[in-house]
Amino acid sequence: MRKQFAKTVEKIFYRRNVVLILGDIGVHSFGKLMQKYPKRAINIGILEQSSISFAAGLAKLGIIPIIHTIAPFMVSRCFEQIKVDFGYQQLMGNFVSVGASYDYSKLGCTHHCPEDINLMKNIPNMQIIIPGNSYEFDKLFISTYKNKFPTYFRLNERENCQKIRIKFGKANIIQKGKKATIVVVGPALSFIENFIKKYDVNVIYITTLAPLDKKLIKKICNNTDKVIIIEQYYQSSLNNEISNIVDKKIKFYNFSIPVKFISNYGTTKEIDKQIGFHEKLIEKKIIKLMSSNK
């Protein structure tokens, strides 16, 4: 998705009111752009809090800022800057992070950020986009980057292989069934895409987590007793949000990242296995849940 991010930004950079701010990462990928537009594509340095407030100042004068750095340094470290300077002041800006959850598995816990979605969800009017693959990032970014709201884009190393006709603010029903409804977010679809067709379940695919497509979710979830939510970060508020919009009592099951520090290194697959977030286990649990009467 990082490569696509660079290509997408290049496509829109003809607009004179777009500024790219790199937190000393991705500098190589944007080299040509920085050479061509030295004033508008800048490596601001390793000073994240100030970068966010600085970007808000740009937005105040009608410039569309795109801020790019590693998720924990952008979201966790700068939560207050994003909340006050963009959220409260209702300024537009695009926050594009890399290092989703434990993508930087070998670098250790300081570079993990499974908390980003819950933090961003707590900023009123923040748009949250979790593209499932590069194609989706491009579509979603192009359709939202200048829509006057602050928007968080979560770039993930893991991508799903689907080509779904996604749209900002809309969920997709990619499979219909009777025994349960699976709500899966962005790249997490890759954990079930190889087997899910075998099972008699609805699959709702979400790439925009905020604002949530309540209409479609309500329609589908009203005809189901069990909802299985699959999202690869700390469990979000989807359970509550779905509970609040459906007209019946639903049993929820969650696959998310447990709230604990991951102190191991290795590959992301090894971490997946360690925390119980992998294809085989998810399939096993889905079978068990479908056959259960509880």
């Binding site: 004033k39 000073l47 809090q49 100030s50 600085f54 100042g57 004068l61 009608g62 006050v84 209702q90």
Partner: protein, 260 residues
């Protein structure tokens, strides 16, 4: 000059009166910047462009947002704000709170209060003006206590690196920081961060005007040595106690006798 002093005393009293009615407000911190704010609005901004909220206007960002009563009363004096509205200060439906709100108040360009946000925000505006080739300047008021924040130093690096000579920062050096961290030689510090630095008496209109008019290729840092609670002797003598203390009726009577 005497007329100006008279106006400033009236503004000092207005701050205290509002704070008394609302039983809220950081009065000494507002009084230490009052001269700075007054000089900026009186000498360096086009009031019409502020009234029109023009993109071309000068911006005054109060990064030390708790001093906002100074900005409120000067905006009122300059007929940008209405007296009737400002009288509602800190009430439930008021536009005017203990920290300024850019979404509610004409002439306020940044919602500040959490220290260390306004300065990088101002640098962003200054950078945007360079891109858009807008000539007007960006003025930012920070406090010495605020200089404990890392973003002040981060932004100093950004502004000097990008040669933001349209950014003028006025540092209200009212010695708030002293009880926590002794900042020692601030001029030296900001100079070493690449700013053109001038140190003045922040209560002298003449010195303020001269310093703000300084032309330079670097961003300009004016260290304004000020007195917290300036103009009200019992606040000047005990600035820490009065930092966020409520003004009683008896205090207001004393203040009125001294100022008006």
């Amino acid at each position: 000059m005497s007329k100006k002093i008279n106006i400033l005393n009236q503004l000092r009293y207005r701050i205290c009166e509002l704070a008394f009615v609302a039983q809220e407000g950081h009065v000494p911190s507002s009084l230490s910047i009052l001269d700075i704010v007054y000089v900026l609005y009186n000498n360096f901004v086009n009031l019409e462009s502020i009234k029109k909220n023009s993109l071309l206007k000068e911006n005054i960002i109060l990064s030390k947002g708790h001093g906002c009563m100074a900005q409120y009363v000067v905006l009122e004096e300059k007929k940008i704000l209405k007296k009737k509205e400002l009288n509602t200060f800190a009430q439930f439906n008021s536009k005017f709170g203990g920290h300024p709100d850019s979404k509610k108040i004409l002439g306020i360009d940044a919602s500040t209060g959490s220290l260390g946000h306004g300065f990088p925000f101002a640098a962003g505006i200054a950078y945007a003006k360079k891109i858009k080739k807008i000539k007007s300047k960006v003025y930012c008021i920070i406090g010495d206590g605020e200089c404990n924040e890392g973003t002040i130093w981060e932004t100093s690096l950004i502004a000097s690196h990008h040669k933001l000579n349209n950014l003028i920062c006025l540092l209200d050096n009212n010695l708030s920081s002293k009880r926590a961290i002794d900042l020692k030689n601030l001029s030296k510090k900001f100079s070493s961060f690449g700013w053109h630095t001038i140190e003045i008496n922040g209560h002298s209109n003449t010195e303020l005007i001269k310093a703000i008019n300084t032309k330079n290729k670097k961003p300009l840092m004016i260290i304004c040595n000020t007195i917290k609670g300036n103009g009200i002797d019992f606040m000047e003598k005990n600035p820490n106690e009065w930092h966020h203390k409520k003004i009683e009726k008896s205090d207001l009577i004393k203040i009125k006798e001294k100022l008006l």
